[in-house]
């Protein structure tokens, strides 16, 4: 194995470990839930990305095969991290915050997450009876 490849793999592993420890330490250290959401969803995701790239480079250098598994895992983790962060933020908003205490989002509308069910939330009105296909497509 070439020396520069060893250095690349080792540097990626060390950087990934540092990012992971920063993410997990931020989960302990930061003061309130909304700031705590930042550390794991960003730093730890970057850390696992570094480990996966190091693994890809290692298997390419050591055994001469390029594996797509790591790319799949990276893609899935990078796609699912924002979704889990959004869900956890919604749980926090609905369980631990009062809707009156939140800052207004600007216009005349309220937070979409707190809006009552109805046309304001983007729900389609029920099709009128006897209208046939036209109403179903609307």
């Amino acid at each position: 194995m070439a020396l520069w490849m060893e250095i690349l793999i080792s540097a990626l592993l060390v950087l990934a470990g540092l990012f992971a420890i920063v993410g997990s330490f931020g989960l302990i250290r930061l003061p309130d839930p909304m700031t705590r959401l930042h550390a794991p969803t960003k730093a730890t995701t970057l850390g696992i990305g570094g480990v996966l790239i190091a693994s890809m480079v290692y298997f390419w250098a050591a055994e001469g095969r390029v594996s797509a598994h790591e790319l799949l895992i990276t893609l899935f983790l990078f796609l699912s991290a924002p979704i889990t962060a959004l869900f956890i933020a919604k749980v926090h908003l609905h369980q631990s915050e009062k809707p009156e205490a939140l800052p207004k989002p600007g216009e005349a509308v309220d937070w979409a997450s707190f809006a009552p069910d109805g046309p304001a939330r983007g729900v389609r009105p029920a099709p009128e009876a006897g209208d046939g296909d036209a109403a179903r497509q609307g």
Partner: protein
């Protein structure tokens, strides 16, 4: 096949991710709200996936990729299911 430099870097990364796992466990145990506990569990899943991949590098085996892929899927689905249960009182409506 593992050279000494990569071996030392692997040990460092193992230590970092293991320590991160312990810190997440602390947040799971003491988290004041349910959202903190869900977030800590989700981070634990990510750290465990990283440990599995490091083990795969250490042993030169590709079978751990399948394990970590399954782990990622189960972790994501369980996080979303738990959040939905807390938000709506029901997982599948």
């Amino acid at each position: 096949m593992i050279t000494p430099m990569i071996s030392v870097a692997l040990i460092f990364a193992f230590a970092c991710f293991g320590l991160g796992l312990l810190l997440n466990l602390w947040r799971v145990l003491t988290g004041p709200a349910a959202s903190d506990r869900i977030l800590a569990l989700d981070t634990m899943v990510i750290n465990a996936i990283a440990l599995l991949i490091l083990l795969g590098i250490r042993q030169g085996s590709a079978i751990y990729f399948e394990v970590s892929m399954l782990f990622a899927l189960v972790g994501f689905v369980s996080t979303v299911a738990y959040c939905r249960f807390l938000l709506r009182g029901d997982v599948i409506e």
